[in-house]
C-alpha cells in the first residue's frame, strides 16, 4: 500500500549486470518505498530473475554498472549474508534441498543470526520449536516438516511454503519473491499468498517477480513493472497486469519502440 510518510527502502539506478560475460540487465531504474508492493512481470529471459538474484548478491552475476542503495547504503558493499541481516530477503524460485540438515536446525540458525544482528535474544531449540510452530500455522504447514531435511523431498508447494515461513521468521524489510507462484496448485497459492499478505506491513516492502497475472489476484500490487531485454519498459498500476493477461507482452514492446522513435 502507498503511504504518505513512507521512506525509501530500495533505490536502483541504471543497474547493469552480466553472467559469463553476457549482459542480462541493461539499465534498471526502480524505487521501492516502505509499505509498497511491486510486481515485476515479463516473459522468460527478460531478466527479472537475474534482477532478483543480483539484489540478493549471487556471485555468478557481475554488476557492471549503475547503483543500488538499500536504506541509503550502497547495497554492493554488503556480502549476501550482510544483506540478509540488513533486511533483504529472497524467496527462491527453486529452493535448495539440503539432506542431512534438519529443517528446524536450519530455520533456527537463520532466525538466531538475524536476532543477534538486531540485538535481540536468540532462542534455544525448545523455545524456537514453540515459536516456529506458531508461524507454521500461518502457512498451514505440518510440524513434521521441521524434522525433515531442509526442503528434502518437499513438493513444489511445500518448498514455497517453507520459503515464506523463512520470511515470516526473518521479518525482512524488503522481500523479493521470485516466481513464488510457479508450481503451486490453487489451494497452495491461496495459502502462500495469504501468508504473504499477513506479513506485509507499512514498514516493509515486497517485490513480486512473476510471469503470470494469477498471483496478483491474491496479492494486490501498488505498481506493476514490465521487464523486457533487461530493462523496465513500462510501469503502471495493478490494471496493467490485467492488460498483460488479456493482451500478452508483445504490445508493450511495440509501444515502447514506437515511443523511442517518436
Amino acid at each position: 500500500m502507498i503511504y504518505q510518510d513512507s521512506k525509501t527502502l530500495l533505490d536502483v539506478h541504471g543497474l547493469r549486470a552480466s553472467v559469463n560475460g553476457i549482459e542480462i540487465l541493461k539499465g534498471i531504474n526502480l524505487t521501492v518505498r516502505s509499505g509498497e508492493v511491486h510486481a515485476i512481470m515479463g516473459t522468460n529471459g527478460s531478466g527479472k530473475s537475474t534482477f532478483a538474484k543480483v539484489l540478493a548478491g549471487h556471485n555468478a552475476y557481475k554488476v557492471t554498472g549503475g547503483s543500488v542503495t538499500f536504506e541509503g547504503n550502497n547495497l554492493f558493499d554488503l556480502e549476501p549474508e550482510e544483506r540478509a541481516r540488513a533486511g533483504v530477503f529472497l524467496a527462491f524460485q527453486y529452493p535448495i534441498e539440503i539432506p542431512g540438515v534438519a529443517n528446524s536446525h536450519f530455520l533456527r540458525l537463520a532466525y538466531n543470526t538475524t536476532q543477534a544482528q538486531r540485538g535481540k535474544d536468540e532462542l534455544d531449540p525448545l523455545e524456537f520449536e514453540d515459536f516456529v510452530r506458531e508461524k507454521m500455522k500461518l502457512l498451514e504447514m505440518n510440524p513434521d516438516f521441521l524434522d525433515r531435511g531442509v526442503n528434502e523431498g518437499f513438493s513444489g508447494g511445500e518448498k514455497k511454503r517453507n520459503e515464506i515461513l523463512q520470511m515470516a521468521l526473518l521479518e525482512p524489510k524488503l522481500a523479493i519473491l521470485d516466481e513464488t507462484d510457479s508450481g503451486l496448485d490453487i489451494d497452495a497459492l491461496r495459502i502462500v499468498t495469504k501468508g504473504v499478505n499477513q506479513l506485509a506491513t507499512k514498514d516493509n516492502a515486497i517485490i513480486l517477480v512473476t510471469h503470470y497475472q494469477r498471483l496478483l489476484n491474491y496479492i494486490e500490487p501498488d505498481y506493476v513493472h514490465v521487464m523486457a531485454g533487461g530493462r523496465i519498459i513500462k510501469t503502471g498500476g495493478k490494471e496493467l497486469a490485467l492488460d498483460l493477461e488479456t493482451r500478452g507482452y508483445d504490445w508493450v514492446s511495440i509501444e515502447q519502440r514506437a515511443a523511442a522513435r517518436a
Binding site: 556471485n59 544483506r83 540478509a84 542431512g100 540438515v101 531435511g149
Partner: protein
C-alpha cells in the same frame, strides 16, 4: 604412485609367526575348511598396485610391520571400554585384539529375545555346528582373496548370530572389536544367519584404545533366508596408524531385505569389500557408505551388487569427504545377470574434496546382461555447490557457517540412515569435529 614390490612369502610368514597354533576341531568339515584356506594362503600373494582390484591402494606399508603374538587373556575392564557401549544394545560381544572378552560381554536373555542366538564363534562351533556348517566359509570365498584365506586359515573366534524363524529382534546386537596392542594381527570372523521372516539389527564396530599400528583382517558372512530383514551397521574407527582389511559377503533369500550403512573414519589404510548377492527373486538391498578421512589416510571401498535373479532392487549411495592429503577409493560394481529381468538398480558416488592435496578415485562399474532393467548411476567429485552456499548466505549465515553446515550435511545424510540413535549421534559428532573450520 610407487608400485609395491611385496611378495607373498615374507609378509605372510611374519603374519603366521604372530598366530597361536590352532587346535584341530572335532568337526571334520571345519578342519577341511581351514586346511583349504591354508593351501590358498600358500598359493596366493599379497596384492600389489599392479593388480587391477588394488591399483589405487598400496598396502606395501603393511609388510613393514613385525607382528607380535596376541595376548590370549585381556585384562580390560568395563571402565576401559564402556564409552563405546550403545545404550540401545541389550546384547554385546566384545573382542579384544580378536580374542573374546566374556567379562565385557552380555549375552541375550532367552526369555525376552525370542530365541535369538548371539555367541562367540569358538564356543558356538560345537553347540551350533549344524547351523553353521552350511554357511561358514560358503559366502566369503577365499580362492582368490588372500585376506579372506588368511582369516579362514586362522579362524578362531568371532561372533555367531542366529535370528530364528520369524523372530523380530527389537534391540540391536553390538559387536565391539577393541584394538589395544601394538603390532597385533587379529582375524575376527562373524557369521549372521537370519532365518526366514526374521528381522535383526547388528552393529559391527571397530575401535582402538590408542594410536597404534596393528592389523585387523575381518571377514563377515551374512545369510538372509526368505523374507528376512537384516540391518547391518558397520563402523570402522580404528587407530589412524592401523591397517584395516575387511571382507563382507551377503547372500539374500527371496523377498529378503539387506540394509547396510558402513562408515570409515579410522585406519591409516583401510579396504572394505562388500559383496551382496541377490540370490533369489524380489530381494532388495540398500548399501550406503561414508568415508571421512584426513591426513595421510587411505580408505578404499569395493562393493559388488550381484543381481542374479529377477525383480531385485538395489539402492546404493557412497560418499567420501576427503581432507588433508588423504585418498579415498570407491569401486562400485553392479552386475545384472542375464535372467535378472526387471532389476531396478541405482547407484550414486558423491565425493567432497576439502583440500587441494586430497584425492579420490571413483569407479562405478555396471555390467548388465539382461535387457529389461532399470539401472541409474552417477558420480561427482568436487567442492561444495555454489548455489547451496548462496542459499544459506541469503539467510544470513556467514560463508564459513554455510560451508561448515553443508559439509556436515554431506556426511550426515549417510549417518542419518543409522537406526541406532546413540550411535548416530556419536557419529554426527565425529563428522562435526572433522568438518568444521573456524
Amino acid at each position: 604412485m610407487s608400485v609395491s614390490m611385496v611378495t607373498g612369502g615374507s609378509y605372510l610368514e611374519s603374519l603366521l609367526q604372530g598366530q597361536p597354533q590352532l587346535p584341530s576341531s572335532p568337526s571334520a568339515w571345519l578342519n577341511q575348511l581351514r586346511a583349504d584356506a591354508v593351501d590358498r594362503v600358500g598359493a596366493l600373494k599379497v596384492p600389489t598396485t599392479r593388480d587391477e582390484e588394488w591399483r589405487f591402494t598400496d598396502i606395501s606399508p603393511l609388510a613393514k610391520l613385525s607382528f607380535q603374538p596376541v595376548r590370549a587373556v585381556s585384562s580390560l575392564q568395563t571402565a576401559d571400554v564402556e564409552r563405546f557401549y550403545l545404550e540401545e544394545a541389550a546384547t554385546r560381544l566384545v573382542f579384544v585384539d580378536g580374542a573374546y572378552a566374556p567379562q565385557l560381554s552380555t549375552q541375550p536373555d532367552e526369555a525376552t529375545d525370542s530365541g535369538l542366538i548371539v555367541s562367540n564363534l569358538s564356543t558356538a562351533l560345537s553347540a551350533h555346528a549344524t547351523a553353521i556348517e552350511p554357511h561358514l566359509g560358503r559366502h566369503a570365498g577365499f580362492r582368490d582373496n588372500v585376506f579372506a584365506a588368511l582369516n579362514t586359515a586362522f579362524l578362531q573366534d568371532g561372533a555367531l548370530i542366529i535370528a530364528p524363524r520369524n523372530a523380530v529382534a527389537e534391540k540391536p546386537v553390538h559387536l565391539l572389536f577393541v584394538a589395544t596392542q601394538r603390532e597385533a594381527a587379529s582375524h575376527p570372523r562373524c557369521l549372521l544367519i537370519a532365518e526366514s521372516g526374521s528381522a535383526i539389527t547388528v552393529v559391527e564396530d571397530y575401535v582402538a584404545l590408542q594410536e597404534d599400528a596393528y592389523v585387523t583382517n575381518a571377514v563377515t558372512e551374512i545369510a538372509l533366508a526368505d523374507n528376512a530383514q537384516v540391518n547391518h551397521i558397520r563402523v570402522q574407527r580404528d587407530s589412524t596408524e592401523a591397517f584395516h582389511i575387511a571382507n563382507c559377503a551377503v547372500s539374500t533369500g527371496r523377498a529378503s531385505r539387506y540394509r547396510s550403512v558402513s562408515v570409515a573414519l579410522g585406519a591409516r589404510i583401510s579396504r572394505y569389500n562388500l559383496n551382496t548377492l541377490l540370490a533369489a527373486e524380489e530381494a532388495e538391498c540398500a548399501i550406503d557408505g561414508l568415508a571421512l578421512i584426513t591426513g595421510r589416510q587411505l580408505a578404499d571401498t569395493h562393493t559388488c551388487i550381484d543381481h542374479a535373479k529377477p525383480h531385485g532392487i538395489s539402492r546404493q549411495s557412497h560418499k567420501c569427504i576427503v581432507d588433508g592429503a588423504a585418498h579415498a577409493v570407491f569401486n562400485g560394481k553392479i552386475l545384472v545377470r542375464p535372467n535378472a529381468q526387471r532389476t531396478d538398480s541405482s547407484q550414486s558416488s558423491r565425493n567432497l574434496l576439502l583440500n587441494a592435496k586430497a584425492r579420490v578415485d571413483t569407479k562405478p562399474q555396471l555390467e548388465i546382461f539382461a535387457d529389461d532393467v532399470k539401472c541409474a548411476h552417477g558420480a561427482t567429485v568436487g567442492q561444495l555447490d555454489n548455489d547451496e552456499v548462496f542459499y544459506l548466505k541469503s539467510r544470513g549465515l556467514s560463508e564459513i557457517t554455510a560451508r561448515n553446515l553443508l559439509t556436515y550435511a554431506f556426511g550426515a545424510e549417510i549417518i542419518d540412515r543409522i537406526s541406532v540413535a546413540s550411535l548416530k549421534h556419536r557419529l554426527e559428532q565425529a563428522v562435526l569435529e572433522q568438518t568444521q573450520r573456524n
